[in-house]
Amino acid sequence: MTTNAITKKNTTTPAALSDAFIALFEADRKRIYTYIYAFVMDTDEADEIFQETSVVLWRDFEKFEENTNFSKWANGIVFNRILSYRRKIKKHALCLSDDVTLELAAKVSQTDSTDSRIEALQICKGELTPTLQQLYTEFYINNATATEVAKMTERSVFAIRKSVQKLRKKLFDCIDRKQREMQL
């Protein structure tokens, strides 16, 4: 979780209020999406909850107290949206049980390493081999599917999926390593 505690500044005017919200929301956008995605595990559903949640966050922004942590405040609202979405989609099969969902939410609320992990990710990207950098660009930047990358590189889809898994593992290990180095 980020320690995003930018104040609402002088939010006495509607323009200042919306400016403050946009600044805080944009800075926290990916983190909020991660939070939703980790629980619902489905892109379409995460997109829908994200969209609804952003409206609710703006609607309730007047209740956000100045000089407090926006991320924590947003997490409370986002989690309620996730729970209400789960209740609404009763046939929803692909989700964690209620107790594990609560455990995970509690754990995430204590997480405070997002910023340093993102920073480490940028450095680790620079340490990838040219082949993995190319894969990263195609898969994550150009948004190509495994099938498309397979066609481009004349490899099998299975091989591309394995390579992407290897790419993620390499980056994850690198981020963990950088984190350990920073703690030394």
Binding site: K9, A27, A38, M41, L121, Y140, A146, R168
Partner: protein, 558 residues
């Protein structure tokens, strides 16, 4: 053991989630693996978080836009109290809302689309009614030169009275506005008359004499000028607009805001960006001190942790993000350097001291952009003079067709250049690096004066932006202290255009008076949308056509 190996089963399921191929059985397994195991839960969340942050775009295609609507609505309805005087209600509503444009399956709510169309139509109707209403009045000026104006758009000339509309001068024209000022248009001048106080000049040359003290507003493609009730001359016949004012005129340029501005005045735990969204993260080698301007500045302790990370600006690949520029660039800061200019030569390596004031990196490093203090040695990147040795101010950036080039300003005290000793006198110094694509001029300014420059072919484009981080006070690609800044930095600004020399001098002079560059109130945490720049009195003022900012001035006699 790596966490990714320790939690291999969770990783495999997370990979399936990332690939959108997870099945119910895997979710059940994940549930069991996460249950009661905080480390496993942390691993799962970190893995998903990394996957999301690797993606260039996440979530629905949606942007957050502040739309502020000022709506005048005109309603005609029968009055129950006075049937002879139909009541006209003109309520004014200010709406302030966040609008979400989405391409998801739910889409944009149709009602907002309809409301937007209706509001636009209402505004257009109000303008049209206003225009028609004005036409019924006595016109906006009286023409002194007959058969000199041609109606180019909606307009009317009747008994030498000119009504709102679009006109061109087929020969020099003089007219008197209803408020008494004499307005002269040169041949081929093209104007849009809104009313007797507001005129748009599309091209040509216009002057106002016999000023009455009433403020007149002149709109041009790159700036809006307020006459301040004084005589004024506006010449748009050349590439640079030329303005002469006899009094208190000011302009509002169309483009003046930096992409990012960190005046270091925020009390939050982030370094607030007063112009954009690049909020900075402080590292431990940076401490708050009294401001060179305003209340706060930051002292950088020359260590590996002497840095403020202001992010990538949202860039993913080169030429994306808010640090990506098209028309040019300006990097501006106030500094009190403690740079020693030391050389440390080891047996197999020469390590020059370099203190980064600002550096935006790319993972491949070629598209980096930096402003630093540097102990230089001959290097193929240095251009034009790659023989320069010693302490310098360095401005590096990537130009298409040339590659990465660094312009150096030797701090040798020769030919009017500052020496390092002068720069280290303990006072604040204003350093600016700029590159203008249209002119091809790359330059370094110190304390308001251009001290080093190089002329590239006009139109030479640059590449910047991308996924690398930008740091104030260090190199984002270095985790050691080799490029760490020592000293104080304040008022850092990044623009996507070249600030004209006149404005750089103005910024310097404002800073020396203890004001921010723009001489505006920053109490609400952001730069305003418009600023007023006074026009120097009785001087020929040249205005940059791209930005609407003052480029230079000269005495009228010239």
């Amino acid at each position: 053991m790596n966490r990714s190996d320790k939690f291999e089963k969770i990783r495999n399921i997370a990979d399936a989630i990332c690939a959108k191929e997870v099945n119910p059985e895997q979710i059940n397994n994940l549930d069991n693996l996460l249950r009661g195991d905080p480390d496993a839960q942390q691993f799962y969340y970190d893995y998903i978080e990394m996957h999301i942050h690797m993606k260039a775009e996440v979530g629905p295609s949606m942007e957050v836009v502040r739309r502020r609507l000022q709506v005048d609505e005109v309603i005609f309805r029968p009055s129950t109290h006075n049937t002879e005087n139909p009541q006209i209600a003109t309520p004014t509503t200010t709406l302030n809302q966040i609008t979400h444009h989405s391409a998801s399956r739910r889409g944009v709510p149709i009602k907002w689309l309809i409301i937007s169309i209706l509001l636009t139509a209402a505004i257009a109707a109000v303008f049209a009614l206003g225009f028609l209403h004005n036409e019924k009045q006595a016109g906006v000026a009286e023409l002194f030169t007959e058969d000199a104006l041609r109606i180019e758009g909606q307009g009317k000339i009747e008994s030498n009275r000119i009504y709102p509309g679009i006109y061109s001068a087929i020969k020099p024209v003089t007219m008197m506005l209803t408020s008494g000022e004499e307005l002269t248009l040169a041949k081929n001048t093209f104007i849009k008359l809104y009313n007797s106080a507001e005129i748009e000049i599309i091209r040509g040359h216009l002057s106002v004499k016999q000023a009455t003290g009433k403020n007149l507003i002149f709109n041009t493609p790159s700036f809006t000028l307020h006459s301040g009730g004084e005589e004024i001359s506006i010449d748009l016949t050349k590439q640079q607009a030329k303005v002469i004012s006899s009094g208190t005129a000011h302009i509002q340029p169309k483009r003046w805001r930096p992409n990012h501005y960190w005046p270091f005045e925020s009390d939050s735990d982030r370094v607030a960006d007063y112009a954009g969204n690049a909020f900075g993260i402080l590292s431990t080698g940076v401490t708050k001190v009294n401001g060179l301007v305003g209340n706060n500045a930051f002292l950088f302790n020359n260590s590996a942790n002497a840095r403020i990370n202001v992010g990538s600006g949202g860039g993913t690949v080169p030429a994306t993000g808010s640090f990506s520029v098209i028309d040019g660039v300006t990097i501006e800061a106030l500094i009190v350097p403690h740079f020693k200019g030391q050389e440390s030569v080891t047996v197999d390596n020469y390590v020059p001291e370099q203190d980064q004031i600002f550096r935006k990196d790319q993972t491949d490093k070629h598209h980096r952009m930096l402003l630093s203090l540097k102990n230089a040695r001959p290097n193929s990147h240095i251009w034009p003079n790659n023989k320069i040795k010693g302490n310098t101010i360095a401005f590096g950036m990537y130009l298409i067709g040339h590659g990465y080039h660094t312009l150096l300003l030797p701090l040798d005290g020769k030919q009017g250049r500052p020496s390092l000793k002068q720069l280290k006198d303990g006072k604040a110094h204003h350093v600016v690096a700029s590159y203008d694509v249209s002119t091809g001029l790359k330059a370094i300014f110190v304390d308001g004066k251009m001290q080093a420059s190089y002329q590239y072919p006009k139109g030479t484009k640059m590449i910047s932006g991308g996924s690398g981080m930008a740091n104030i006070g260090n190199s984002p690609n270095r985790k050691d202290d080799r490029e760490a800044y020592a000293g104080i930095i304040d008022e850092v600004a990044f623009y996507d255009f070249a600030l004209p020399p006149y404005m750089i001098k103005q910024h310097y002079e404002a800073a020396m008076k203890g004001k921010n560059y723009f001489n505006v109130n920053l109490a609400d945490g952001s730069l305003p949308l418009n600023i007023n720049i006074p026009i120097p009195e009785n001087e020929v003022v040249y205005i940059d056509s791209q930005t609407g900012l003052i480029n230079r001035t000269e005495p009228i006699a010239q």
